[in-house]
């Protein structure tokens, strides 16, 4: 395991996870919590923050300890570390609000298996200095939270007519119940991805000025 020598901390260290390698929109990781708990913005935010906390704490610890952890038990150790922080945040959320805890359900505990966290610990934190690891984890967490919010906001606005529980349109509004149901999760994320793909294609088409090739065969 070669420790990266460049210690330069750049904006990219942080922003990578925010956009270019957004864990949800680009890497399609951690799909389960992404879809399961985003039926309201507050749940999305809570889940995002909880995950960020675990990312951050485990990233820091892994980065600190990486050089002492034998190769053979690396992953097992990471899992134990992650599980520890997840258990902590699980209790913390219970202490903050039972309602929130009930809304997020088992998905807090399922952060343990969220591929983002193990992936980051393994691919980044173990190879970088603590400061960098923390910053990168922060970026990833922010990117994850941002993506969850994107979903949570759409689903809450359409599904309940509110944002963070604040009623937007008054009592006449007809909520789109589907948005709070499972299919809504799939469809909203699918729609976001479609939108991004569409923008990307448009940009590409503008860049390479080819004959107006039609999308639909």
């Amino acid at each position: 395991m070669t420790r990266k020598t460049d210690t330069q901390i750049t904006w990219k260290t942080f922003s990578e996870g925010l956009w270019a390698n957004n864990p949800v929109f680009v890497m399609l990781l951690g799909m389960c919590p992404t879809l399961a708990v985003t039926n309201s913005a507050i749940n999305a935010l809570a889940m995002g923050l909880a995950t960020t906390f675990v990312l951050l704490a485990s990233g820091l610890l892994v980065s600190l300890l990486a050089r002492y952890i034998p190769k053979q038990v690396r992953i097992a150790t990471y899992i134990v570390i992650i599980a520890t922080f997840v258990t902590m945040i699980d209790y913390i959320i219970q202490a903050i609000s039972l309602d929130l805890y009930n809304a997020l359900g088992a998905f807090i505990q399922l952060i343990v298996v969220n591929c983002i966290i193990l992936g980051r610990a393994e691919a980044y934190a173990s190879k970088h200095r603590p400061a960098k690891a923390v910053l990168n984890a922060l970026g990833m967490g922010a990117g994850f939270t941002l993506a969850l919010l994107c979903l949570g906001l759409v689903r809450e606005i359409l599904g309940s007519g509110s944002v963070f529980g604040v009623d937007l349109f008054g009592p006449a509004f007809q909520p789109w119940v589907i948005m709070t149901l499972p299919p809504g999760g799939f469809l909203v994320l699918g729609a976001w991805l479609l939108l991004f793909d569409w923008f990307r294609l448009r940009r590409q088409q503008k860049e390479t000025v080819t004959g107006g090739q039609s999308d639909v065969a």
Partner: protein
């Protein structure tokens, strides 16, 4: 993922350093977890208590405090046992027993519906329900939590025991919307018949089983009245 596989294999290089590190991490993990659980335990217990108190005061109108009991075949206990049911006795400021709250559950439209209901021994009726946990459809099934007309079913839902004391005189049952005639019937929410049925079913099942067991011990609950 391949490394996961590798990592699980018995360590080849068994160095003392490795043992130290592993033990260290395990200890650190244990420490962190125990610490958190210790630190948060009081808050969590308080949260739970508040939640229960709120629920109890909703289903037993007027109750300001409650005590938890565990009802088993051999009577009331203060510690839960293998076959006990948890009940909450609700008291007013003067420590008069106002009613007893218990949990009930039945399969609803999407998943189980969990309820707390309050039984008033004076009128021998159910005085209120609170839905604790459910996954019914917003706009339809979730009306059981807030639909005023539906909730009014439980202002005084007849739960008298049959003369032999072995069950309810009249089974609690939901009827089609707008056809309620008796005090022991629940007027279903139109468009959410299934959720309404589930509520009825849960209450009936729980009351049929619990009340015959509970009533002989009412005195004991009252006996605690004078105690602070």
């Amino acid at each position: 993922m391949n490394e996961a596989q590798q990592a699980m294999q018995p360590p080849r290089a068994s160095s003392t350093l490795m043992m130290i590190v592993l033990n260290g991490i395990a200890m650190l993990a244990g420490f962190l977890v125990v610490m958190t659980s210790q630190l948060t335990a009081p808050r969590i217990a308080e949260n739970q208590r508040i939640a229960i108190e709120q629920a109890v005061s909703k289903v037993i109108p007027g109750a300001t405090r409650h005590r938890e009991f565990h009802l088993g075949k051999d009577g009331l206990r203060s510690e839960p046992g293998a076959d006990t049911t948890t009940i909450y006795a609700g008291y007013d400021d003067q420590d008069h027993l106002l009613g007893v709250a218990a949990r009930a559950a039945a399969q609803g439209y999407a998943d189980m519906i969990y309820l707390l209901y309050g039984y008033d021994p004076t009128c021998q009726c159910i005085r209120g329900i609170k839905v604790l946990k459910f996954a019914e459809t917003p706009g339809l099934g979730d009306k059981i939590t807030h639909d005023a007309a539906f909730q009014s079913n439980f202002d005084a839902l007849d739960a008298r025991l049959a003369p032999d004391g072995q069950g309810l005189a009249h089974a609690i049952a939901k009827v089609k919307h707008g056809t309620k005639q008796h005090d022991w019937e629940i007027d279903a929410i139109s468009g959410a018949t299934i959720s309404s049925t589930a509520v009825g079913k849960a209450l009936n099942q729980s009351a049929q089983a619990l009340l015959p067991q509970l009533l002989p011990h009412l005195q004991e609950l009252r006996a605690t009245e004078k105690r602070p």
